[in-house]
């Protein structure tokens, strides 16, 4: 594999997508029927792509591991979805949304892709509204918006605190319509276990039926991965506990480059860990920072209940450090600031690993009813989990692993380095740089799925119209299926003593301690050794009861954890390579005197795209230099 070609169209930024659309190859409707596309995943990007491709007339096969496509993890997004509508007349525009994303991502994203994401954001809102998504409205009947971190306009559309579920149900309904028309065939409870390449092109997958255990072959002219992120590498995260990176990782091992794996977002507002058996950390939407004020006591180790600490003894540290953005600084900044206060001994709660998020002032000013309308279900959820009523007492929050900006490298067409293999939504790396701004993940996933991929994929499929239906009887399918079965057998044959989850938990701890919010060379090197040791122990002492030809959830988990050992090694390697601090990647060695991230633009204004080079060999890094033609690179400041 030679140089990375990003295929960004020439010409002025604002014209690139228009120009691309005007010149991209098209496929005649009669030919579309004959072309098959596999889409893995049914979140906003996957369900969006499957339905949009179905509408165009392609024969689509859509897969998910859940029992229904409506359960994909997009469902859990809370706060909202951004768009450059400027309905508030507050000076918003496509350019400003683009600029905020570039700046928020700490100048490590591609200008062309980001501008396009901003450009299609308005169509996304129109589409969901037409599909019947009940976004919040004002009394005159128009759509309401709110503010999110890292920006100074109000461009976030929302459905109370469950925007993700409402958008996903919209996407699921459009998917159902295509299923009813016979354009999409749905395969639930299937896990993709490998990618099949024929003559270097992605031509299908090997999947396991999670109910019967049957190993299945599925062929297509192109394969789209919409498989989400790998935030569960920390074990405890805001993700669904079954979220995993196996599909993307298998694709990586088959030749797809993995870009910026170390860019992982730690979300600042999550319910802190309560006990050692905990299986996940629940997110409390960032939208809460619109009205909630973050503070810790001014005195170290102050054990008084929050309500008994008088105003003058409270340190509203975000407002103090960042007067311009206050409580609405971007996520990476807010997370690190919380960690800094807790590490310095000012944390609250039993573990001292928490800070207060206080609604007292907002309730006083706006009334309880207004606050309930905005955040009712979040307050209720917090109360259910902790038994504390946030209308009466401040919430306690702490950062947790959340979103991965890194992912499979894709070009402007969202194609990976394997011809015919695409990655969309969180599974790719392209739009968020080193840090994602709130409410832009639903936006990007939907944009990729509904409005970008269904156009760019034509450019590839137009040259495939003479290729007949791909057979699953080829030696390539045979060989890949054999590899998959060998691997399953290997996991089942260890017959040790420990569960996959217990290894996952220990791996997560290593990652959280050495490759979480703050990293340094020594810690990262240590992590590499620890991961290797734990991986050896895994392959020696794992136990998976049962067989692979039946429902076997332990086997599913084991396969995902096995892949995580390899992915975490790459992630740490990437973090070690990037000798700078940018966005969510904070290396202690590289910081300003007042503790802010210190980029090194001369050396690191590039995307690190890693190539797999066989078991036991170090991965090979390829650089895609980032050129900023439109935006001047500045030190990110929210002060």
């Amino acid at each position: 594999m030679g140089k990375l070609i990003s295929k960004i169209p020439d010409g002025p930024l604002a014209q690139k997508w228009t120009k691309y659309k005007a010149s991209v190859k098209l496929v005649n409707p009669a030919n579309k029927k004959k072309l098959e596309v596999i889409v893995i995943g049914t979140g906003l990007s996957g369900a969006g792509a499957a339905s949009a491709l179905g509408e165009l007339g392609y024969s689509v096969k859509n897969f998910c591991y859940q029992d229904s496509p409506r359960r994909a993890h997009s469902v859990a997004a809370q706060g909202g979805i951004n768009a450059a509508k400027n309905y508030q007349n507050d000076g918003d525009s496509v350019y400003r949304l683009f600029y905020d994303m570039i700046k928020g991502g700490d100048y490590r994203a591609r200008e062309g892709n980001v501008y396009r994401a901003a450009e299609v954001s308005n169509q996304v809102i129109d589409h969901y509204t037409a599909l019947g998504v009940p976004f919040a409205r004002d009394y005159g009947g128009t759509l309401d918006t709110r503010s999110f971190g890292g920006v100074q306009v109000s461009r976030t559309f929302y459905s109370s605190g469950q925007t993700g579920q409402q958008c996903l149900l919209g996407a699921y309904s459009s998917l159902n319509r295509q299923i009813s028309k016979g354009n999409v065939t749905m395969y639930p409870r299937r896990e993709m276990l490998d990618l099949v390449l024929i003559d270097g092109k992605a031509r299908g997958i090997i999947a396991r039926n999670l109910i019967t255990g049957e190993i299945e072959r599925h062929a297509a002219h192109a394969v789209v991965l919409a498989t989400g992120g790998y935030g569960t590498i920390y074990f405890l995260s805001t993700l669904a506990v079954n979220s995993n990176a196996s599909a993307a990782w298998k694709a990586h091992k088959k030749g797809a480059f993995f870009a910026n794996p170390s860019f992982v977002q730690i979300h600042p507002t999550c319910v802190p860990q309560l006990n050692e058996f905990q299986s996940k950390l629940t997110l409390m939407s960032e939208s809460l920072r619109n009205d909630g004020r973050v503070w810790v006591p001014k005195t170290k180790g102050d054990t008084r209940p929050a309500n008994e600490i008088p105003e003058e003894e409270r340190d509203y540290y975000l407002e103090r450090r960042y007067p311009a953005f206050g409580n609405l600084v971007p996520r990476d900044v807010a997370s690190r600031a919380a960690k800094e206060r807790c590490d310095a001994g000012f944390g609250v709660g039993e573990t001292k690993l928490a800070v207060n998020l206080d609604f007292r002032d907002a309730i006083k000013k706006q009334g309880k009813k207004t606050i309930e309308n905005k955040y009712g279900n979040l307050f209720e959820m917090y109360d259910t989990i902790t038994g504390i009523n946030p209308y009466e007492e401040p919430m306690r929050i702490y950062p947790a692993g959340h979103y991965t900006m890194g992912g499979l490298w894709v070009d402007y067409e969202l194609m990976t380095t394997i011809p015919g293999l695409y990655a969309i939504g969180e599974a790719n790396f392209s739009d968020h740089g080193a840090n994602r701004l709130g409410a832009s993940s639903l936006m990007q996933a939907s944009g990729d799925g509904y409005f970008i991929l269904p156009i760019t994929i034509n450019n590839y499929l137009a040259d495939e119209i003479r290729v007949p239906k791909i057979s699953t009887g080829s030696p390539e399918f045979e060989a890949t299926e054999k590899e998959v079965i060998e691997r399953l057998k290997k996991l089942l044959s260890i017959k040790g003593k420990q569960t996959a989850a217990s290894f996952h938990k220990r791996l997560g701890k290593i990652m959280w301690d050495y490759c979480g919010m703050v990293r340094n060379e020594e810690g990262l090197k240590k992590a590499l050794v620890l991961i290797k040791e734990l991986s050896d122990e895994f392959w020696r002492d794992l136990n998976v009861p049962g067989t692979y030809s039946e429902l076997n959830m332990e086997l599913e988990k084991a396969g995902r954890v096995a892949d995580y050992f390899e992915l975490t090694e790459l992630l740490v390697t990437d973090a070690l390579n990037r000798n700078e601090s940018c966005g969510a990647h904070f290396r202690e060695e590289y910081q300003t005197p007042d503790g802010e991230a210190l980029r090194n633009d001369d050396k690191f204004t590039y995307v690190a795209a890693w190539e797999y080079s066989g078991e036991g060999n170090p991965p090979v890094m390829h650089k895609e230099e980032l050129n900023f033609e439109e935006v001047e690179m500045k030190t990110r400041s929210y002060k």
């Binding site: 229904s68 128009t142 993700g164 409402q166 309904s173 058996f277 509904y450």
Partner: protein, 244 residues
């Protein structure tokens, strides 16, 4: 806490199931119900025994994957809570907990506590959508909707599709689920255009896949973890009668 669990174990759809007793010695009141089951499964796997199979994913009460009958109630006794969010602090020291899968003909048991809920998907495929292609939508603010109407549609739209309503109903009726979907669309101008076709198709499919009739006992509303209101069923009936 020490607890006794009586869990329904069933190898597969065809096998005959039965309750199996498990003693738990070390349950923390801070655990969530599924974490308690995780710890049981950890023990079973370490002894090379078959762990208890159950559906679960987001573990924050929104994906609708989890759901089991706990002491005679779907998602347990605490109102407005899914199984994944059910805290062990609601159980007493020494208590015996009965855990079963959803029991309803259209939801056949797959294994242990996992049931097949594809009947729900089939109903939605039959008509639970607004027919609009990608790219064809008008500007979002060109559709003005009274805030109260929109909020009401939202209250119906929050259904997570877990199936507790069906499991709670003595007739295994899916009326609460279907009516929530019908209501969301019926309340919005975008959804009115195909309202007649939608309600007919969805109700027909609901009957076809084997859900029972509604006899207004209200158990669905009482057990719904998202507190979906039975008034939706009245609206569904109205919409249905209007559709002919």
């Amino acid at each position: 806490m020490k607890l006794t669990l009586k869990i329904w174990r069933q190898k597969n759809a065809k096998a005959k199931g039965s309750f199996v007793t498990y003693k738990m010695d070390n349950v923390s009141p801070e655990m969530a119900f599924l974490e308690m089951l995780d710890s049981l499964n950890k023990k079973l796997v370490e002894e090379d025994l078959d762990p208890v199979a159950f559906d679960h994913d987001c573990r924050e009460g929104i994906c609708g994957s989890c759901g089991m009958y706990i002491n005679g109630h779907p998602h347990g006794l605490v109102p407005g809570v899914t199984t994944c969010h059910l805290s062990m602090r609601y159980f007493k020291e020494g208590e015996t907990i009965w855990i079963e899968p959803w029991r309803a003909k259209p939801f056949p048991v797959i294994k242990d506590l996992i049931v097949d809920r594809q009947a729900f998907d089939k109903i939605q495929i039959a008509g639970g959508f607004i027919s609009i292609n990608t790219g064809a939508a008008p500007d979002a603010n060109s559709i003005l909707i009274r805030k109260q109407k929109s909020d009401e549609a939202f209250d119906s739209a929050i259904c997570i599709g877990c199936g507790a309503c069906v499991a709670a109903c003595k007739n295994a009726s899916a009326m609460l689920f279907v009516s929530a979907k019908i209501s969301q669309f019926a309340l919005l101008p975008q959804g009115r255009i195909e309202a007649k076709e939608r309600v007919r198709a969805m109700v027909e499919k609901m009957d076809e896949v084997g859900f029972g009739n509604c006899s207004n006992t209200g158990s669905c509303e009482a057990e719904c973890p998202k507190k979906i209101k039975i008034v939706n069923i009245a609206r569904l009936n109205r919409e249905y009668f209007k559709a002919f």
